[in-house]
Amino acid sequence: MNEKKLVATRDAYGKALVLLGEQNPNIVVLDADLAASTRTSMFAKEFPERFFDMGVAEQDMISTAAGLAASGKIAFASTFAVFGAGRAWDQIRISVAYTRQNVKIVVTHGGITTGEDGASHQANEDLAIMRAIPNMTVIVPADAIETEKVIKTAALFYGPMYIRLSRGKTPLVYESKDGDFKIGKGIVMRKGRDVTIFACGIMVDKALDAALALEASKIDCRVVNLHTIKPIDKELIIECAKETSAVVVAEEHSIIGGLGSAVAEVLVENCCVPMARIGVSDMFGESGKPEELLVKYGLTSQKIASAVLSVLKRKL
């Protein structure tokens, strides 16, 4: 387990788009001057007549995607998470979600691990603001293998979606491509009886590390990949809370409004158990190496392990 295989989710996205483009002539892709970074450039190279670089104009990109979708296209629109979710929020709300258009907003550079570019480029609020929009499905894949499945599923699913990917190369949490991906259905990555750690994105790997580390203390952690932030897997959350009686949630996002909030909303109305959240405090990030930022902002397996110990104390 020491030698983790690292693959960028955005690379998986670029490859999946090319495959989809070959299979389905209705797939169109838009970007806002970040095609090389988001990897939509791979699709652009193969299908230039179905690729539109909208320039530095995210709002225009999203509403244009809506117009293409209204004419029968499956539109994938990509940029960085801060610009996609933030700059174009109103366009996503009205042109895409209110109209239930078949637009897939696939953003890269989600979260603090965007790194050196600093706070302006670190999307720590995107899941909260996307989750609040009716008709929107919000997904954060845990690794590159899951990303490929998510993108293929997105092309078959009719309706608006927000899919958040990362900048850096991240560890694979799946060993093979086997296993189904179902929107809204969490995946139990590791069985356990003492506590459940819910996580999404890069925090799934860290949750698994925390669970492994806690084995030595004879603590049996269940780890669940809640890749779909909305619609949240209410049944699985309640089942895990009832069976383990303690919950920790870990996400690379603000402590406000993301996965932690979504899980808390379910628990508070259905099954109150001790709970702790791991996420970025209510503050902006800063420049630094991704690994340094993860440590400084408390997004580590050690922090998850400490949170587990704290909820277990409250459980007693």
Binding site: V28, E49, R50, F52, M54, G55, A57, Q59, D60, M61, I62, S63, T64, A65, A66, G67, L68, A69, A70, S71, G72, K73, A75, D90, Q91, R93, I94, S95, Y98, T99, R100
Partner: protein, 281 residues
Amino acid sequence: MISKEKTRELEKMARQLRRHIIEMTCAAVSGHPGGALSAADMVAALYFYKLRYNSQDPSWPERDRFVMSKGHAAPVLYAALAEAGYFPKKYLKTLRQLGSSLQGHVDMLSVPGIEMSTGSLGQGLSAANGMALAARIDKKDYHVYCMLGDGECQEGQVWEAAMTSAHHRLDNLTVMVDRNKYQIDGKVEDIKNIEPFALKWKAFGFNVLSCDGHNMKAIIEALDRATDFKGKPTVIICDTVKGKGVSFMEENPLSYHGKAPTPEEEKKALEQLCHIEEFKI
């Protein structure tokens, strides 16, 4: 060339749309009559002269598309769609009521014939571009029309979209601007001046036409010139009067941007709209 009879028929239809607008907004006790009335002649020209559509098959793939970007002008679009046979005219008076399909701002999922939901200004032209780009990919010859308000052109996205239209040389796209010169807070020139307006569109790469937005013959001629023009998108700047057709609204356009006529005002307005018709015929 359009015949005198057809022109008169379209003028009559525009008056009919105006009567609907007055009755709808009065019944709703809310809504935006001013900017709907200013657009009535343009909308009549589009739906009863220019657009290719089948109201019995609203999703006919070959149809022309019309995007009402100034979504608050919903009453004039609903009136035109009802007159065109998309839904029964009796529904018009349900505007803005709980449970009605006729939402305060246009909603494509609740009313057949509406191509894009709007209401938050500035988004329609981008969506229209998307439709025009789709036509190109699909090798279809439908034309896309988009109506903007002049106050709306203070939104930055309008100009992002204008760059897109021009960059892709979307000559299957025609923009109509309802240049009624007023926005909610006052005169456009006082709030944030958009002039030199025609020069802006020209600089952004459009074929620019202008016409009297209440002269049916002029509107028709401009629309025909727009769709004949190749190599660039066209914008028609239509000089209009907010509240057109109702004297007390024309005289006090700011009061009737987002305020419905009272029943007494409705009566007076309908009398004026009938009177004009009798006078002209």
